[in-house]
Amino acid sequence: MIDTILAPIRQTLDHHVQARVLPDGSGVDDQGAAKIVNPFDEIALEAALRLKEQGVAARVVAAVIGPAETEKALRTALAMGADAAALVEVEELPEPPRVAQALAALARREGAELVIMGKQAIDDDLGVTAQMLAARLGWPQAMFAAELRVEDGVAHVLCEADAGTRTLKAPLPCVVAADLRLAEPRFVSLANVMKAKRKPIERLSAAEVGLEVAEAHTPLLKVEATRRRRAGEMLADVDALIATLRQRGLWPEGQG
């Protein structure tokens, strides 16, 4: 049995909410907008909890690096069943290389033998932190995991690929990044939400995980709303559809 699984999580804008640009175009206005646990991190946490329930691991530690308000995400993690929670409080979310640095420090501090986290956060859509963390720790990685089994100190992982899948055997300690099919997050009961409110959260300063203030390496210079609207011209029937395709040379000629 392994001792600790670390499940880093991010808080993101609720995916039901349309991201709005600040009037000066300097960023996204998320003041007062609904926030959720990044869906891929939620899947990752679920996978970690199942390993614990299977008796593969003794405990699951959820961790957040972010502003004070992200404590809410940790409460959700505790309500789902995480045994402990750590919050590294920073004013602004650091860039991925520094998040990876802080998570590496946390993983060592907690004595984690396995890190399971989402393959990407659905706000910045970067999808690079898990790999950077694995590199920092010098651990193997299994990205885009769809199935995970841990046995005798080895993670057997079925990974999504550009075409088909890959089956990897990665020795622990390692970093696994969750894709959609890895697990279906459990429903959290109100009773567990209430209980989670009283569970302790360990608070760490940025310095305790080696984070110093630094200039941004990839500053957001400007954001714009994307225009997705198209003409939306309605066609009367399939004949009209075929005529449209013919006009554009997209219908096989000499047939029909």
């Binding site: 991201a19 996204v28 991925p96 290389p97 393959k119 659905i122 706000d123 859509d125 999808g127 690079v128 898990a130 790999q131 950077m132 694995a134 590199a135 920092r136 010098g138 990685q141 990205m143 885009f144 769809a146 999504e160 690929a161 550009d162 075409a163 088909g164 899948t165 890959r166 089956t167 990897l168 055997k169 990665a170 894709d179 959609l180 099919r181 390496h217 990839t218 500053p219 957001l220 400007k222 954001v223 714009e224 994307t226 997705r228 609207r229 198209r230 003409a231 939306g232 309605m234 066609l235 029937d237 399939v238 559809l241 075929i242 449209t244 395709l245 554009r248 997209l250 096989p252 029909g256």
Partner: protein, 332 residues
């Protein structure tokens, strides 16, 4: 600024080639915007005929100075640990300032790890290179287009290859040198690749390259519609995409998923059958030249994001299209 391009990996089993030359040509053309030398690294399991052929193809692309043919059994299957370690070595020795790849899973796996080793930032889904220190990329499921500065000497950029025109081929054979670098003895190989399963495309073209793509949503995933849609795809030589909802139902493999957390495609024509038009799905089809939607609900959001719409039952529309192509379809 000197650039190292990682050759685009061809889907295993797709064509037997090691490299997706067309996609790599797009990366090379984009890399030239940094106005330095452009070298390409091609990983291969061995220095054999196939590897040489692939390397020569890349060496004939306009703007390439050198092709590194990294041939070593430890690079089989592009496992991230040895390949990222090798790339880190090459980058440090040669002093490249930008490392460029595509946004495929294969490149995300390897190149974000490389960024971690180099302590460098990595930006994915780059759709525009404004100058050497400024790029654009979508965020928030493509609802937002961000202009991002690069304030570090070294950076890893993963491009959405379809957003860049390919570099031309200037020769039939290698126009520049192909160099086999000496391989470090201590490449880490902790992970074992037990199996690489190519998935089933039944001879259909690759989603990333197809001229026509047919999209399957919840409104077209019943057994009959699904079969009709696959039949039409075959008739049109089209690739098939699916929404996450259909993938979740287990009615389409994961590698058919198009959208924010799936593939981004840029075909000449995308026809969405029974797809509502969630912004997470639209994120994957924004670059399609023409979008046509077929949906029973005249108020479905997909229509506002489509060039043409047909408010109709997907199954009936598919049958009518097939009938027009002279295909036999069972009557109602």
């Amino acid at each position: 600024m000197d650039v190292l391009v990682l050759a685009a990996r061809d889907a295993p089993g797709a064509s037997g080639a090691l490299v997706d030359e067309e996609r790599t040509a797009r990366l090379v053309a984009a890399a030239r915007r940094f106005s330095g030398v452009v070298d390409v690294l091609l990983p291969a399991a061995a220095d054999d005929g196939a590897a040489r052929m692939a390397a020569d193809g890349l060496a004939a692309l306009q703007g390439v100075r050198r092709v590194w043919l990294a041939a070593d059994a430890r690079l089989t299957g592009w496992l991230a640990e040895p390949l990222a370690a090798l790339l880190a070595d090459v980058v440090r020795c040669e002093g490249y300032a930008r490392i460029i790849g595509d946004s495929s899973l294969a490149h995300r796996d390897v190149l974000a790890r490389l960024a971690g080793l180099l302590r460098a930032p990595a930006l994915t889904d780059v759709v525009d290179i404004i100058d050497a220190d400024t790029v654009r990329r979508p965020m928030y499921a493509g609802d937002i287009l961000a202009t991002v500065g690069i304030r570090s000497e070294l950076a890893v950029l993963l491009l959405r290859a379809v957003a860049f025109a390919p570099a031309e081929k200037i020769a039939e054979e290698a126009a520049v040198e192909v160099v086999v670098p000496e391989m470090p003895g201590n490449l880490p190989c902790p992970v074992e690749l037990l199996e690489e399963e190519a998935g089933d495309s039944s001879g259909r073209p690759d989603l990333g390259r197809a001229r026509i793509v047919l999209g399957m949503g919840r409104g077209a995933m019943d057994t009959e519609s699904r079969a009709l849609l696959l039949q039409l795809a075959e008739k049109l030589g089209a690739a098939v995409a699916a929404t996450r909802a259909v993938v979740d139902e287990g009615l389409a493999p994961n590698d058919w998923q198009v959208g924010q957390t799936g593939k981004q495609i840029a075909p000449a024509l995308y026809i969405a059958f029974g797809i509502s038009g969630a912004h997470q799905h639209l994120a994957g089809i924004a670059d399609a030249e023409t979008i046509i939607a077929v949906n029973t609900d005249a108020d479905a959001p997909i229509f506002a994001a489509a060039d043409h719409g047909l408010a109709m039952d997907a199954r009936k529309a598919l049958k009518a299209l097939l009938a027009e192509l002279g295909e036999h379809v069972p009557d109602e």
